[in-house]
Symmetry: C2
Subunit: 130 residues, 2 copies
């Protein structure tokens, strides 16, 4: 299975992820990539995104009630913080899962997902901005 072709649109899409450090949704990607390739279509974004996930270049980040977002894979194991005010998603380094899980018998855990929510520094209600 040879690599996919290096088209202008594919490159533009990859660039978007290199320049934006947070998980992006298809519409956001379209928007940003269109600055480079204006006639880019949403279908192409979806195809590229799916291919890139398949190739493990991207990881899918799913948040409750929202379209899936994508971020570059190969990052350290981490979790996400969802700002309920500005709706942005941030990466949190390190694992937030308890080490001594106490699961019922018979459950085999192969993966986990943690999302914290609240307000990010920029939106924090009690910022110490005097």
């Amino acid at each position: 299975m040879p690599r996919q072709r290096q088209t202008r649109q594919r490159i533009a899409i990859e660039n978007v992820f290199d320049h934006e450090p947070r998980p992006l949704g298809p519409a956001e990607v379209l928007d940003l990539a269109q600055e480079e390739v204006p006639k880019l279509g949403i279908a192409t974004v979806y195809r590229a995104l799916n291919d890139m996930v398949e190739e493990k270049l991207l990881r899918v980040v799913e948040l409750p009630g929202q379209p899936a977002r994508y971020e570059k894979s190969g990052l350290h194991h981490h979790h996400h913080f969802h700002c309920l005010q500005c709706d942005k998603v941030f990466d949190l380094e390190g694992c937030l899962l308890k080490s001594n899980l106490n699961l019922p018998e018979g459950f085999k855990v192969t993966g986990h997902d943690i999302t914290l929510s609240g307000s990010c520094p920029a939106c924090a209600p009690d910022s110490d901005e005097s």
Copy 2:
């Protein structure tokens, strides 16, 4: 804002949640409730579900890539286990979040969501079935 009317369909839908202990999706709810009210429509299910969430009778449980599921609220704080084989979702008692979170400055956490995935006892690959 008076309580909503006690219609046959609303009651049927509430019953579904009393009888099923796991998070259910709209389609599942429709299916189960139709045993009681055959001509029940999907739109009514959605309306009821949304109303019930609004009234805090139900909680929304979102899993990556799947339609939202709903479960009765007022349960103890808990998290979810998603069996990747049979696709059912189970409740896990207790909180699985690390107690000593080490977040960057400025993030205010108001909630969190944890989903483990793997195989449930019924689907476990290495069951000790000799």
